[in-house]
Every structure is written in C-alpha cells, then in structure tokens.
Amino acid sequence: MIVKDSAMKRKWGMAIDLDKCTGCGACSIACNQENNMPIFEDDSDVPKRVAFLELMKVTNDRDAKFPDVKTAFLPKMCQQCEGNAVGKHKADPPCVSVCPAVATDVGDDGVVSQIWSRCIGCRYCQTACPYEARVFNWWKPEYEGSFKNSLSTDVSVASRGTIVKCTFCSHIWKRERDKATANGILDINAVLYTPACASACPTGAIIFGDLNDPESEVSKLAKSDRAVRLVNTVDDETPEKQKALMSKKQYANPKVYYLTSQKWLRDMMRFKKNS
C-alpha cells in the first residue's frame, strides 16, 4: 500500500487542438450523455439550452470575403479560470467570488465546482462568466419514458432553477479515486482520469491532464507556440506589461488552452481585427 500526503497536487487542465478538430460533434454527444443533460422535445431554444459543451462554428467572414474564408469548430466548455492565481494566491475565477451562497468553489485540483443543491438560482455567476459556460435550468430537467434508463448515477439530476456547468467531469475523477482506493492505492495524486469529451474525441484533439506536472502532454502543449487562451487578452502582452496589468485587475486566466496555427482564428479568439 502506498500511503502519501493526501493533499491534492494536481491542477487539471485541457488543451484543445483546433487544427485537429473536424467538428464531428462526438464530444458534444459524449458530454450530454455523461452528464445526464435534460432532454427536450425542441431544443432549438439555443439561448436557454442546457448543455455543458458548445460546439461553436467560427468563420472569418467578419474580415474576409469568399473565397478567402475559413471555417473552424471550437468546442467550448467551462474554461476553469483561476484568475490571477500567482504563487500562493488562491484561485479566483470570475464566477466564484460572486456567488452569494458559496454554491460554486475552486477545488484543490483547480476545478471550479458547482453544487446545484446549494444554488439559489440567482444567476450572478452566469453574469460574471465571460465564456457563457454556465447554464441555468430554466425548465425542469425532463427525461421522457425509457430515456431515464440511460441516466448515469454519478451525476445527480439538478432541479429546476439551478445553475449547472462543466466540471471537467470531476465525477469521473471521484469514480477513479474510489476505485483506486478500493484497490489499495491511497495516494490521490496517483489517480488520473479523462473527461468524457476528451475520451470521445476521435482525432485526439482534446488532451486532458495535469498542468502542474511538467512532463504531462497537456502542460507541454500549453507552453507551445500554438497555444492560445480564449479571450484572455493579457496573454498577448509582454511579461512586464502582463505583470503590470495583473496588478491592476484580475484576468480570467483559464486552464483550457486552445492550439491553433491559424492566425485568423487566434485573432478572432482575441477580439482582434485581422487582415
């Protein structure tokens, strides 16, 4: 039996290679299935749709004309921001500090949790989120007839009027953790897992892992030249300027890194006008 410090040393992060994404939608189906997403007859009410992962279609037709156009797909889930968590500063995502009832919190592994049974449904966190990653159960989650049979026991079905969101499938981590312990592995840092979207991606575009481990694939990808974080413009500045800006104001600093070699897409992701 391995007995080690029980403190969590992992910091889960994700890298999504947009050059490899074909927009097939497997991640979206896997996410919906894994997280017991409610089922409605007409889910075309996109603004009220309850889904953790949004497969966004991005084109450069804002700045380009046919045929110099490009199309890409950008799977977007909760970006698990950490705010200006530098050194000993605790992570401070935009959504966590605003919650009046502590229904959302940052875990030791950097994952932003959302406990629907504590949520009063004020939607302040949704207002604070720059990624539209949080969804509200505007209607009572419905599962008609035999659809109920496909519900996973790991994710509790939220009640109407509460916020839910992607938690990097942290229930899978708990599943793996409990399994490992049952097998005698008591070191929680030994438990690795893969969220549903990452394991469903047929081209391996979604990579999940530990950002604290310099050897992990995700932390190497996060440092690559192609890495870009969604709308986190402070990344574009020089290190000195970054420091100055971050001393004045928090930035989202998400833990989801997108990888792309397409300049237009990088620019779009930063609100930059491109040529």
Partner: protein
C-alpha cells in the same frame, strides 16, 4: 366591508375609478402570473443563459436607486436638521419602504429557487476579511437590515393615524420614536451606502472578466446616482399626488429645497459619470484589448449613452439655476429628467451590458420581456401606487396637509 369598498368607488371621480380598476386589474394579473412563475419556473421569461437578468433586475436597480432618496432625505432632515424637509419625510419613508419591499419581491422572483432564499443568510459568501466576497451577500444583509430600519421609520406614520393617536401609550411611543429617529437615519445612511453601492454598481463593477462592466469605481458612482436621482424622485411623488388630490400636500419651498439638493448632487454625478466614460474609453476597455465604442451596438447602441447625458444635463440645467427651479414647470422638467437619467443609466448598464457579445463570432443580442415579466413588474408598481394611495387617504402621510386642514376647520 363590501359597502366600504363600494363607497370608495362611489366617492371617487370617474378618472379615479378607471385608474383604480386598472391598478387592481394589474395586481390581480400579477397574482396569476406570480403563481405561474413560482410554480413552473423562469422558463416563461425571456431571460436566457446569455441575458441572465431582465425586467425584474431593472426594477430592482431602479427601485433601490430611487428609493435611495429616503436615506438622503432622512439624513438631511434628522442629522443636518433641515426642518423644511419635514413635510416630505413621511411620504419619503413610505416610498423608500415600498421600494425596498418590492425590491425583495423582484429579487425573489428572480431566484430560480425562491424557497432557498435563506441560503443567502445561512451560507453567506463572506470570504476571509470583513467585507463579503460576493456583492449579493452584501445586498442580502444590508438590504434586509435597512428594510427593518425603514419599517421602524414607518411605524410613527401608522401610529399617528387619528384613531390610534388617541391612545395615550401609542401617542407616547410615536413621540419618542420621532425623537430617536435620527439614530435610525444615521444607521440607514450607513447601510445605504453599502447596498446602494453593491446592488446599483458594485455588482457589475466587480465582474472583472466582462469588460463591458468592469469598473472599480462603479460602486461609488451608484451611491451618488441614488442620492441624485432619489431626491428628485422623492420630490416628484408627493408632487404628483398633490396634483391628483388637487391639494397643496407639501409646501412649494420644501420641493424646491429638495430639488436644489438633488441638483447639487447631480453635479457630482455628472462629473463622476464623465470620469466613468473617460476611464472606460481610456483605461478599462484597453485593459481587455477592446474598443469602448465597439462594445456599443445592436439595439442598445450609443444612443442610450447620448440620451442619458442629455437627461443629466437637462436636470443640471433646470435644477441648479434658481430662476428655473423656482418656476414649477421647469422644476418638474428638471426633476423628471433627473429621475429618467438614473433610470436610463440602469437600463443601459443592464440591456447594453448583456447584449454585448462575448465572442467576436457572436452578434449583439436583444431582450424583450414576456407578458409574465411585464405584468409582474407592472403589477408590483401598481401595488406600490395603491399602497401610496391608501396611506395618502387614511394616514397622516402629509402632515402639512393635516395641519392646514385642522387649521381650516378651526377657522370655520
């Protein structure tokens, strides 16, 4: 009882009867739709995952800001002893009380789980220091405590009802409560500073990841906005009541004093608002590498900003010049401009703020309240008007008027 209600209708003029029918109709509809919203959820509103708040939070922001006139007026009267404001104070306290009461009602409707509203007190997000981490926690606490203070401030108005006041004990209580009211006014002012700031501005200003809102000074600007707009509002309400009742319910000099105060605070608000726009353009938008004017677009474009400034300037112009302020017509225009300037600023914070796309490949969005949202909002306002009417009719809301009537009777 039925006879009593019949009498009320028979006594009223035709216009008043229609008004009453409309108001009561709205209240009934409010009740019906309230049941729908509370039992079947917020799906019936036009709010969505992008436009997370709508009509009710506009109501909240507006009511709290305008209700802010209560603490300002109370402060001037009880702490600075500006006795000319006394004829206004009962009406002011009542309006303040109702504004806060219905702020609670709106907030409750806005909650997805109204039965869990007490979580805000039971599990507050205090963070580590003295200050709460969440602006809403501050709203929860300050708003409730200040509401209690308003209840205490309102009690003498009820106790001074001509039937009740005959009782010696009641009269004594009312008397001593009046004497001690300055403590309440001081406490109320203290609390108001916090929740005016948090609900009105801090809530938005702290959203650091949303460049359209982030502004650390928003908190303080909201306080000034509430003081400026609230005082105008507290002038206009009894003024309108007086026009309807065709009586001089408050002496003109009281109105003019309060509008003068309002006008002066509007100067501060104007300066603050200019600073706000300037920092938006020069500091905060660039910090997120965004262009300030790129963030205005869609249905809620720059016209909202222009309209707001036009209203502020109108208020400044008419309220701060004695020759205009002393003409009833211009005083009304000025005070109304002031009220609408504040309302517009709240509308713009919300509508424009939510409409701005979070990603460049998405477009500006719009929000159109559904019938449920409209009726719950209007129903609440109708409730407020009815309560105000009840107080104006049966309670000593306007001591000046009572005084005059008593005076007149003794003359006869």
């Amino acid at each position: 009882m039925i006879q009593f209600i019949k009498n009320i209708f028979q006594e009223s003029s035709k216009n008043m009867r229609i008004t009453l029918y409309v108001l009561i109709g709205l209240v009934v509809l409010f009740g019906i739709f309230a049941i729908q919203i509370l039992f079947w959820g917020l799906g019936y509103t036009d709010m969505n995952n992008n436009f997370t708040w709508g009509a009710w939070i506009i109501g909240d922001l507006g009511l709290v800001a305008l209700g802010g006139g209560a603490f300002t007026t109370g402060y001037f009267l009880y702490i600075f002893r500006v006795d000319k404001l006394r004829p206004l104070i009962s009406s002011t306290v009542l309006i303040g009380f109702m504004c806060y009461l219905f702020t609670f009602v709106f907030l409750l409707f806005d909650l997805g789980q109204p039965l869990r509203c007490w979580f805000g007190f039971a599990y507050p997000n205090w963070g580590k220091g003295v200050y709460p981490a969440s602006m809403l926690t501050e709203v929860f606490f300050c708003l409730s405590i200040y509401f209690c203070i308003l209840v205490v401030e309102l009690i003498p108005v009820v106790l001074e009802h001509k039937v009740l006041i005959k009782n010696k004990v009641v009269a004594a209580i009312a008397h001593y409560m009046h004497l001690l009211m300055w403590t309440m006014a001081a406490g109320g002012t203290f609390l108001s500073f916090f929740h005016q700031g948090s609900l009105g501005g801090g809530m938005w200003g702290v959203l650091y990841a949303r460049p359209v809102w982030f502004a650390p000074h928003f908190f303080f600007m909201a306080i000034v906005a509430a003081m400026a707009g609230g005082t105008s509002f507290m002038t206009m309400m009894p003024y309108i009541a007086g026009k309807i009742m065709k009586k001089e319910v408050v002496p003109m000099e009281s109105y003019q004093l309060l509008t003068k105060i309002s006008g002066m605070i509007f100067i501060g608000y104007f300066v603050f608002r200019v600073y706000d726009v300037y920092t938006g353009i020069a500091k905060f938008a660039p910090m997120a590498q965004r262009n300030y004017f790129d963030m205005w677009g869609g249905y809620y474009g720059v016209w909202m900003l222009v309209l707001e400034f036009a209203l502020i300037i109108s208020a400044l112009f008419f309220l701060n010049q004695k020759k205009y302020r002393e003409q009833e017509k211009f005083m009304v225009i000025g005070a109304c401009s002031g009220i609408f300037a504040i309302v517009t600023s709240k509308l713009s914070v919300l509508l424009h703020g939510f409409s701005v796309p979070n990603f460049p490949w998405k477009s500006f969005t719009a929000y159109m309240p559904t019938i449920q949202e409209w009726l719950i909002t209007l129903g609440c306002f109708a409730c407020m008007i009815l309560i105000y009417m009840v107080f104006a009719k049966w309670f000593p809301l306007f001591p000046h008027l009572e005084h005059h009537e008593a005076h007149d009777e003794s003359h006869h």
